[in-house]
Amino acid sequence: MRALKHTLFALAPTVLVLAALEVSLALLGAGERTRNVWRGFDPDAAYLKPHPEHEGAWRTQMFAGHGSSDFVIPPKSEKTRVLLFGGSNTQGFAWKHLRQYLNEGAPPGSPGFEVVNLGRSGYGSARVVTIFEQALALEPDVAVIYSGHNEFVEASFRMDLEAAYSGWSAPLAEAASHLRTFNALVEGFSPDPVEKEKKPEEWNWEYGKFLKNTYDQTRERMAHYQDNLRRMLELARDAEVTVVLGTVAGNPLAAPFRSNPPADFPPEDAEELDELVARADELVPPSLTGIVPEHPSHRLHVKDWRPVNPAEVPPDFQMPRLRKYGPPFDGRMGWWPAPTRWSAKVEPYLRKLSAFHRREVSAEERVALEELRGVVERILELCPDHPMAHHRLALTIWLLEGDGQRTAEHLRLAARYDRAPRKASGLSNDLVRELVEEFPEVVLWDLETLVRQSAPNGIVGYELMQDECHFHEAARPVLMKELCRVLLEATR
């Protein structure tokens, strides 16, 4: 009896403090239990909710904690409602331009168009399909799907979440989420979306997870991508929503991320392959550093084009000259922002690219490139789908021979065979085209072909792209003009 009493005495202060905190937080309206909507993986969470005050209107809750604002979607009107789905490229689509172009091109007397952009950075097809399913409640007339760069980024993020929320503590965290005290603590620890900004290369999510991926595993992952797209097309068919499905344009000049041999690669060849890969690294001439990155920080990233602290532009600055594209991107040399916004990395990188495109090679580098070509050709004899070898072979063919067609061919193969791609390629776009054949009612927006055909030698590069997959801001209205043309045709 005495022991029981003392146990209760010992626990009483804890219970009292907790109760006092819970009551105080309830009075302050803090620490409410919310589903973890901002990461996007919870199919039971509502990413779109009916507006509490305006009947028929909706509001998004899919951008919170990501620096962007959620927004209100007005009640469905007579206007043709176009919804945009995808990742960061879609989020960055110039949707106001699209709306303007659509309304300018709409038949006289028609109610016109409205455009709702539901794209979000980092979203791959697994999360896009969740949003898509819920967004059918918005009664769309047309859904535009532009998704294909983020399959590995998304998978990697999901693996991190699963690691963080698994094990013995997972049910305890779930139970604790009923306490306002716990929720307030989580909120307190969650970094401010602006303050927590890190350089993209500091995030190792994508780089570390797929180090041993074989191409079979890559294709398996991409089969999920196709399944997710197919699911959206089935949902749209049932809801009688017109779908415009885009092929997705990447930057083939950006080097592949992982290059592993197949699981059944002969052990007797493995040693030779390792030696050849090491030799191929040694033979990369300094003028190709960056185009052939040794470290993620050598690559150009989105943030390099508009960093918080741009580099000073020297008085004698001259704009690097790259390549001119054909229609619809004709009329200007580069689509990048003004040099006053660039990081210190951009200008030297563009100078290297300029020299590369002009095939400016010293006699010394030419010798190294000749040897490099021999090495990567031998790698391709051993492992014909080796992405790094295709990429370097493309670069050497261009610099030594100037054969644009073969260069383009090997760059496309490098992208296609990447074991952990962060950009769309022939692999993903073939899956898109297969689906368009499977669903004849789906309208193809073949952006990849359009962009490729506009590029010199069919090699899209940094004139249009900020990194491996993001279009420069100034190029996006051009994309919207093309999308407008497809949409007007699809809704005629």
Binding site: P13, S88, V186, S190
Partner: protein, 50 residues
């Protein structure tokens, strides 16, 4: 009842460790759990695409 209250107050004064321990353990555990929960960001991308 008054005796119980007196006994409780005496317990609080004389056996500080016994009642402080569950308090520290519970709030320590909740704090660690919350920190761990908040450690995974909302997205692998923390930058906006301009």
């Amino acid at each position: 009842m008054r005796d119980l209250w007196r006994e409780f107050r005496t317990f609080l004064v004389e056996r500080v460790v016994l009642w402080l321990l569950p308090l520290v353990l519970l709030f320590g555990f909740l704090t660690w759990l919350a920190w761990r929960q908040a450690a995974v960001p909302s997205s692998p991308f923390t930058y906006e695409v301009f």
